[in-house]
């Protein structure tokens, strides 16, 4: 069933300024026998209101005296305040949740209600969504101009269709995946997945594999590292939690076991089922080019599950307008279209093209075939995606650039990736012809492009996987290519 929305946002700049200057006091009421997830929902609502309005949000078990605004959180049966206020609640069943404002009673009320404790949690995050907050796996983005809470009229019911697979699959085979994510990173990720209503996380890792060298970690960060600004003063790129364990193999393995258990425990606390992948399951190789916009799609998928009248095209404005401003969604949509064209082309033409690993780039140096024509087409799509995203970024003036700029730089990474491969093919061809000058020129271009890849990501790296791109490009592109150049110079 569809979600019903009749939210009217009244932006009251003066109220916002008053709010930020003094901060209103808002009472949040959760039932005295509320489930842990309902209490979590109340705390999350409090945190949202504090961040949006500078509000002092007091969480309690009973309606406070007076006529001040109150947020009532719970299932219809778990919170007596719903009945005390005689609220006409939307009907919710199974996993439905609802957020509704009431202005016609003795006091302003916001009902945050769900059919189950997990659904109550979803309702708390829906309140944030209706007030303009947007959740992504990398974090929350807040609206530039939050609407007036006192004047907002919200009547939103979410009825998850359960037709969409809101399962999050985590692999650990490569630093680009989740091999470098430590406890803090995972807790933050699970928190975001919880906001996006992902109910299940599948871990494709054993402690032994996670601790071992199969993940490709650690990767040295030395003084000649492109994009090193992303690593601060670290000497290696690694899973920080595992690295803090003893350097003895047993210590790292024990830490990996603890990490995986922490993920399960934290998932349980947040109402997310964490399971292990079936043994023997085929794990897709990590592709550096295919997952550059996965953050956005995790959010879009979650939203489409409760807002099916949106399409992937129309939901761009819904997701982005509160945080980026008007007309940004359309540009982002075009950017992603171009990126997806590139992705389809690459997958159709060479499904190993974006798989980063040893010899990945050097195989282009040794390849005897000429530069494939589809590379130029792929690069053009990546560049178009980058340019569209930069236009979106320019337009997203008041806030929202935390969303657009990273994608622009990631698409730049992809275009430069193609440049590395192309220059290497030319360098290899020149070497076979005995044309040392061209060989060196093309190798230098390849190194320039590898450097540009790293710098593009370094400018916007915010997760361990982002930093992994930089570390892996140094390991498998920049450093091997420097060696090739030295060899060519020495000939």
């Amino acid at each position: 069933m569809n979600i019903r929305i009749s939210a009217v946002f009244v932006v009251a700049a003066s109220l916002c300024s008053v709010v930020h200057a003094a901060g209103p006091t808002i009472d949040i009421v959760v039932g005295p026998k509320a489930d842990a997830l309902e209490k979590l929902a109340a705390d999350e609502a409090a945190a949202l209101l504090k961040k949006l309005y500078g509000a002092e949000a007091r969480v309690g078990n009973a309606l406070p005296a007076g006529n001040g605004p109150v947020v009532v959180v719970g299932t219809p049966s778990s919170n007596p305040a719903f009945g005390q206020l005689k609220l006409n609640l939307p009907a919710v069943v199974r996993n439905d949740f609802a957020v509704k404002t009431y202005h016609d009673g003795a006091r302003p009320v916001v009902a945050v209600v769900g059919a189950s404790p997990a659904a109550v949690k979803d309702a708390a995050y829906e309140l944030g969504w209706r007030l303009g907050v947007r959740y992504f796996t990398f974090g929350d983005l807040y609206p530039a101009e939050p609407p007036s809470l006192e004047k907002a009229e919200i009547d939103a019911v979410g009825r998850p269709s359960e037709k969409r697979d809101l399962t999050f699959n985590a692999t650990f085979a490569s630093p680009l995946d989740y091999a470098a994510w430590g406890v803090g990173d995972w807790k933050a990720l699970l928190h975001q997945l919880s906001k996006l209503r992902y109910r299940k996380v599948v871990l494709d890792a054993s402690a032994k594999n996670l601790a071992g060298k199969e993940t490709g970690l650690p990767i040295e960060i030395n003084s000649d590292t492109m994009g090193r600004a992303a690593f601060q003063s670290a000497k290696a790129f690694d899973n920080a939690y595992l690295a803090s364990a003893s350097t003895m193999a047993a210590g790292r393995a024990a830490a990996a076991t603890k990490l995986l258990q922490t993920i399960r425990d934290e998932g349980k606390r947040l109402g997310i089922e964490v399971v292990d992948a079936p043994s023997g399951a085929v794990v897709a190789q990590t592709d550096a080019l295919n997952a550059l916009h996965v953050d956005y799609y995790l959010t879009a998928n979650s939203r489409l599950d409760v807002d099916p009248h949106f399409s992937h095209q129309t939901i761009y404005e819904e997701i982005l307008t509160p945080i980026c401003g008007t007309e940004v969604g359309g540009r982002v949509a075009r950017a992603f279209e171009e990126y997806e064209r590139a992705t389809l082309l690459v997958n159709r033409s060479d499904d190993q093209f974006g798989v980063l690993g040893p010899q990945m780039f050097l195989r282009h140096f040794e390849a005897t075939e000429p530069v494939p024509g589809w590379w130029n087409a792929a690069r053009t799509h990546y560049l178009n995606a980058m340019n569209e995203m930069y236009r979106a970024n320019t337009r997203a003036r008041e806030g929202g650039r935390a969303f657009t700029l990273p994608y622009a730089r990631k698409f730049e990474f992809a275009a430069e990736y193609v440049n590395v491969c192309e220059s290497l093919r030319r360098a290899g061809a020149a070497k076979r012809k005995g044309d040392k000058e061209t060989q060196i020129t093309e190798l230098e271009k390849a190194i320039d492009s590898a450097s540009n890849c790293c710098n593009a990501m370094a400018a916007v790296a915010r997760t361990p996987s982002d930093r992994a791109y930089i570390a892996v490009m140094n390991q498998h592109a920049y450093r091997p290519l420097l060696k090739l150049l030295e060899e060519a110079d020495a000939q």
Partner: protein, 476 residues
């Protein structure tokens, strides 16, 4: 090849300084980047093993360059989300002498790799003069760091959101600050003692630019010289009167000129060719829906008034001819291009046809790294560590587009001293060359951190402001 003697010409010090070893502003004496002192400077140094590293301190984010005055190394940083800091250290030991924090208020939009703490301060040995976009100019006592005066400036606005990064200079008791933004480009002259305005010149034909003013003495007169969009101009520093203009610059000037004797040298790379006026950039980046027109919603709010003035037919849309001159002066419709020029100082009026000594147009210039003139050598470096060198007499080529062996971006400008040129890369390398007409790399040093700002030289020490630290290198 004839061997050219590269004896060091004394750089004419036109600013009052506390001692001869001072590096009192962006790129030192008169912005030349050249140290005339006789101390030997380290060739090899590294934070990896501490070789020839005298000291280092941690700093907050910032790309303003360090200065050295009266045995103090002074720099700036963001020490909190909305806190701007000016810090002074003992140049010999790195001991913090004072740290002044200033609340900035809400910060404006900027584009990486710019930082909010982007301006380089200057000093006359009595006060330190610093700029911050939301605060204007601030004067601090050099002994204590106490704020002496503040001069509020209009908040700069940029069509492409680059953000502020201009730096002041001080000369004969006057602080000069050129705020060439896209909205209200203006040159200010402020009394250094009192912080009151002496004069200002509205440079209405300019677009955003970041050149630092320099001084050029020619024909018995010292002019304040500014490179800007399309034009290099000379002003009377006492009253701000425009004395001459040389209309040979391309559209976007982010580098600063340097002066040797009575000649001004400049190297500029501005995107596109001569036909690429501002309109093309507007249609590429501000025209969000790519329909070939601009609406008010598509330009930054600060430019609403300019938009409305340009909207001749009042339909709320800028198109065609309206776009041509909406934000670029019709008197200065210059496009892109690259150039390295030598222009003789002095003159009167339009000197475009009379004072350009030579003009080299090739791919050598960087858009951000300024040239250095050391002796009779003009040296430039750009992204990828690609360097070129020319003779100052006629722009004759020594070498062109040769790599220095370290890749990455090169934002900082070269500096020179002790017969050496120091070139700094963003990934953290400091490459040392022997100054002269042949490329001779003496060392490639690693400082292990991103470097965007230009280092300083003083009393045998090199001060490098990295992304997270201030490092002092000195022969041990």
């Amino acid at each position: 090849m004839r061997t050219v003697g590269y004896s060091w010409c004394l750089v004419i010090l036109l600013a009052a300084i506390a001692n001869a070893d001072d590096w009192p502003q962006f790129r030192g004496p008169n912005g030349s980047g050249v140290s005339a002192e006789t101390h030997s400077l380290p060739t090899e140094f590294s934070t990896d093993d501490g070789k020839n590293i005298a000291w280092s301190v941690k700093l907050g984010d910032g790309i303003g360059c360090p200065i050295v005055v009266a045995d103090r190394c002074i720099t700036t940083a963001m020490s909190g989300d909305e806190t701007f800091s000016v810090l002074a250290y003992d140049a010999a030991t790195g001991k913090e002498l004072w740290h002044t924090k200033l609340a900035t208020g809400k910060l404006p939009r900027i584009t990486p790799p710019n930082s909010h703490a982007s301006s380089t301060p200057c000093s006359d040995g009595k006060k330190v003069y610093a700029h911050f976009s939301t605060l204007g100019l601030i004067a601090l006592d050099i002994e204590t760091g106490k704020v002496d005066w503040k001069f509020e400036l209009p908040k700069p606005a940029y069509l492409m959101d680059w953000g502020a990064a201009m730096s002041p200079i001080v000369y004969q008791d006057t602080v000069y600050f050129c705020q060439d933004d896209d909205l209200a480009p203006t040159l200010f002259a402020i009394d250094a003692a009192t912080g009151t305005l002496r004069w200002k010149v509205e440079r209405t034909d300019m677009l955003a630019g970041y050149a630092v003013p320099v001084l050029c003495t020619a024909g018995g007169r010292t002019d304040l010289v500014l490179a800007g969009s399309g034009k290099l101009k000379g002003y009377d520093p006492a009253i701000g009167k425009e004395l001459w203009t040389c209309n040979t610059m391309p559209r976007t000037v982010m580098t600063s000129p340097v002066v040797r004797d009575d000649v001004i040298y400049i190297s500029v790379q501005s995107y596109g060719d001569e036909t690429r006026t501002l309109k093309y950039a507007l249609l590429e980046w501000l025209d969000t829906n790519q329909n070939g027109e601009l609406t008010l919603a598509e330009v930054p709010k600060e430019f609403a008034s300019r938009f409305n003035q340009s909207d001749k037919n009042g339909d709320g849309v800028l198109r065609e001819a309206e776009l041509d001159t909406a934000f670029q002066s019709p008197d200065n419709m210059v496009g892109g291009g690259t150039t390295i020029q030598a222009i003789r100082g002095g003159g009167s009026g339009d000197v475009t046809k009379t004072h350009v000594l030579w003009n080299v147009k090739n791919k050598s210039p960087s858009n951000l790294s300024s040239p250095i003139v050391a002796g009779e050598q003009l040296f430039v470096v750009k992204k990828g560590g690609i360097s070129s060198s020319f003779g100052t007499k006629a722009g004759e080529s020594h070498w062109e587009l040769k790599r220095l062996g370290k890749f990455g971006d090169y934002y900082a400008s070269p500096i020179a001293g002790d017969g050496k040129i120091y070139v700094t890369s963003e990934p953290g390398s400091v490459i040392v060359l022997k100054a002269g007409p042949e490329l001779d790399v003496l060392a490639r040093n690693e400082l292990g951190d991103s470097i965007i700002s230009t280092p300083a030289i003083s009393a045998g020490r090199i001060f490098v402001r990295t992304k997270n630290s201030l490092v002092c290198a000195q022969e041990k």
